[in-house]
Symmetry: C2
Subunit: 284 residues, 2 copies
């Protein structure tokens, strides 16, 4: 990709945690850290599109990924700039030549999400059958354990303040990108935005693994598939529609993944089992 065609991005930063006073069960005053949560209203070519509630770690990438995953812009090179200003809680995105069919594509409210009421602009389900994940993509149990260990070692807002979801992009056990947000959809969108800016070998999801602390709901599985990522790992479980979509897409879902434990829910042929690495069997 010609770097001169990549969008100009601000690097707006804001504190990710705040100290607040609390009273505990012993009646004592204490202070704890809580994660930031701020509104970011997205204007596309000066017209308001949506307001996202976000931790605010990487707002420019969130905005890029949101437009990508909503399929409102075809290529990142169609975007001229993303300007985030936390003073006014606004992100201004400028396209090079407008959004085709904007009215039609933002009118159909709301095929939705695992949080129950997320919003995805219409037509995504229609695209599902066009998705083909590479047959040969796989992950070994040893790589899975390496991935989980990298997550465990990551410095996080979660560790200091809780109440955020983490997402990461891996190639095998190599962590390429990690982000947290108060919304798990925001976290995955931020990764999608980051991937969009990279060269083709990172943009291609085929040899990647997506990790999320959140549940594997229909929308999480769908977004992974849209990004071309054939393997998704979660600390949490899976819902029925997430499971059905993953089976239909031949997308490997691994849940309840912590330490040496996991459950593979779909496309187990993508997971190269090495049970000898699982260690001694512990009683629950």
């Amino acid at each position: 990709m010609n770097a001169s065609l990549l969008p100009y991005l601000t690097q707006a930063r804001a504190p990710l945690v705040r100290e607040v006073g609390v009273i505990n069960e012993f009646g004592e005053q204490d202070t704890v850290s809580i994660p930031a949560e701020r509104a970011l209203t997205l204007y596309v070519d000066r017209r308001e599109l949506v307001t996202l509630m976000t931790l605010g770690a990487m707002p420019e990438l969130l905005v890029l990924g949101y437009l990508r995953n909503q399929r409102l812009v075809r290529s990142v090179t169609d975007i001229e700039s993303v300007t985030v200003d936390w003073e006014v809680h606004a992100a201004a995105l400028k396209t090079r030549s407008g959004i085709e069919d904007r009215e039609a594509r933002t009118a159909q409210r709301v095929v939705t999400t695992g949080c129950g009421q997320g919003s995805v602009f219409g037509g995504l389900m229609d695209e599902l059958d066009a998705i083909r994940l590479p047959d040969q993509a796989s992950l070994t149990q040893g790589q899975l354990y390496g991935l989980l260990n990298a997550i465990r070692l990551q410095e996080t807002t979660y560790k200091s303040a809780g109440s955020v979801h983490g997402c990461a992009l891996f190639r095998g056990e190599e962590m390429l990108m990690f982000v947290e947000d108060v919304g798990r959809h925001n976290a995955i969108d931020t990764i999608a935005g980051w991937m969009w800016l990279q060269g083709p070998e990172v943009q291609d999801g085929g040899d990647k693994v997506f990790y999320t602390t959140g549940r594997l709901t229909s929308e999480m599985v769908m977004k992974s598939a849209q990004m071309g990522i054939p393997i998704v790992v979660s600390r949490s479980g899976i819902t029925q529609m997430g499971h059905e979509l993953a089976q239909r897409l031949d997308l490997c879902t691994v849940g309840r993944a912590t330490n040496k434990r996991f459950l593979c829910y779909s496309a187990p042929q993508r997971l190269v089992l090495q049970p000898e690495l699982a260690g001694p069997r512990l009683r629950a």
Copy 2:
């Protein structure tokens, strides 16, 4: 309320869990329960409004509460019927005399949520300053422990299948209503729908406590306040905007609440401390 004016509701039911095959870290096949997740497209007076992804435990109440919390209908008696048919994944809601200003009120997309990308139709923030929670509403530490114990004893889809959020409405330590959903916003909306159908002493949130397994994000705090409920308890933590809103509303938020432990983040005067009930101090 004249019972003859209450809406007619179907009682559509569908399985809440499903057994699926998994492979574990020892390479063994097993089966586990996972929660259902199904699309429910809501048609209001024959026009499509929104698609919710839901567990499907109480879809008619979810639809009622959704319309209530979105402020699209003023009174439950304005609704003639809610007909849910899982065969076609549709809920048909019929009003008695239409939705005033429907276009304007559903056009402003999306002041949003703790999942990051939920949708709340415009104008809710404007209503905040009109909300007055009763000054004298309070909860004792003993009642809080009774409430947490009732939650612990509740039979749940969470216990059997994980990956769902639970919500409950309490009066003191008396549980009035409990519901689970894949989306925590759906769960709170379902409770709002249930309250709407009850007599005035239940409809009035002033002496109620709201419990959620989910985080206390801005939207959760806002919805509680809209329902007139001055005290919210969560197993999880709080976000900055949830905290700011709670302080502004003088709404008591209690988080990290399990067993005897908790943190009170806001309006501590509503929590009557009884530290002698906290038991021996354990080191973390």
